[in-house]
Amino acid sequence: MILRSLTLRLTLLFALASTVVLLGLGYVIAEAIDRHFVEQDMEVLDGKMELARNALSRVHSPVELAALPALLDESLVGHHGLAVIVIGPEGKKLFESGDAMFPVSVLNLHDDRKPVEWGEGMHRFRGIAGEAATGIVDAPPAIVGVATEVEHHESFMSSFRFTLWLFVIGAALVMGLLGWVATYRALTPLRAIKQGAASVTASKLSYRLSLEAIPAELADLAQTLNDMLARLEESFRRLSDFSSDLAHELRTPISNLMTQTQVSLSKARSTDEYQDILSSNSEELERMARMVSDMLFLAKADNGLMTTSTEPVTLNDEVQSLFEFYEALADASAVTLVAQGQATVNADRLMLRRALSNLLSNALRHAEPGSAVRVMMETQEHAVRIILENTGTGIAPEHLPRLFDRFYRVDASRQRSSEGAGLGLAITHSIIRAHSGSISASSAEGITRFTVLLPLPQQV
């Protein structure tokens, strides 16, 4: 099972960590105490062993050997819990004190540096056994066993272990609780983020998470969320602008069509009149259809859905084709078309042509009769620069920044004349942007100039 709750997971982790650490510590301490007890016991046992050996070494005859128990008894008085056994050279038990039942295996060990434990139930002993030479000539050595009771050690250790376990359990609970509190507190900013995110709706997209109250680890997340909100807000704004623009721009032609059609239906008219009305309607409808398709083009571009298939395009050829197209219109208002310089760009030919066509159409519309519309092309270090220039009344500075907005018209009174829907420059802007380029407009002393910068293909 995977624990879904971060708080629970961290709480358990805290408790587990404290348990492991404390158990480890307890083990080390218990080992040290145990070792200390052994050393303490060994000191006593060594002393008694020494005593027994000393006594045995002073025995020089079997008679003296028989007197040994009394001697030993005397010197062992007052040593509670101590047991001593002496087995003579003939295997006869010479002396035994205390109630330790020395196992044979212990007595045969002959290694007085290695304590052994035995016993059962409450009676546990730790003891050593070793050989001891007697003063009797040519007699084999006797065996001495010394043992001490270790029950009091055992009971100390078991109470120590009990305390340790209690402490570990208590500590685990406390640590778990602390962990829970810490996690809960640490997650407070997340809950704030959650609340903030829950309050975001379509009409309240301007909400941003405040970064000051948020810890550094979460600031990144909050910033990312804020950026996401900003992008959403921008897209949403565009979308609603798009809808309201479209509704607004369609209202006038639709109302015209409705009025015209209803008025003409109000009484019988001649065929010519009907034909006239229908033709006019058809023109209006075509304009609307064009506007809708332009709007869709822009919407696609705005949402990054425009697909460009780039190829090397010789700008001069494109400009010449456009000049051929606009030749008649230019001639009609005695405007000359001039192309200067040359350049090649990587672009979607059809789109680039459309972008330049809109610029040229715009320049021609505002060109003074008898003047020239110039297209200047130049390859710079990182980009190709295209400048379109016309002489005319110019554009007032306050209009320049909004020139590429949808439906923006410099002259409000010319709303629905030859100027079209006011989408041409917006489309150009979108196309240039889709090519990672930039476009700007300037106007001074009657000369209006559009500057397009298109990046050069990366040299590999």
Partner: protein
Amino acid sequence: MKILVVEDETKTGDYLKQGLTEAGFVVDLARDGFDGMQLALSEEYALIVLDVMLPELSGWRVLQSIREAGKEMPVLFLTARDQIEDRVKGLELGADDYLVKPFAFAELLARVRTLLRRGSKVTEADRICVADLELDLRRRRVTRAGQRIDLTAKEFSLLELLLRRRGEVLPRSLIASQVWDMNFDSDTNVIEVAMRRLRAKIDDAFPVKLIRTIRGMGYVLEQPEGEP
């Protein structure tokens, strides 16, 4: 020539049928994909106009069935969505051309005629004549009533287009695309000015006017009725 129109939208279907009938075609109208497929497979049609958003059976399925049955007649599909994937899909499935709704009827008619002409091999004539207007394609010369007329290269192309498709109403967008290769909604004023200049050279000096403006639709070049 018999044309099948498969279109579920009632008004659009009716008007397409009326328009194409009045343009001289025999038209069958199917209101859904299933009927459309039945008709396409059982009858012989010179061309099919197919809406892709259909009830019962989608236009794509209809198109697939027609091609699988080995029928080779041109298919022009109508789509409401201007998505490249849609167009690519249609053309991959074997359609010959497409139009995005809303479209001008003149545009549809022009496309239909182009598709129908594609099959029949027309012998390339050196000269095209309408009334007393004569176009010499080889020497690129124009005469009217024996009088030589000087035209620019583009004016010649424009006149050639009008003459080749005489009697057909050509929408401005089609003219812009065919003569100047402007394949997008461009400044239609340009076409008007260019037409005015062509007429000044071709028609103004003569009593019989060959080029006519059809308001709301486009231009047509034809011998006026009642003239020899």
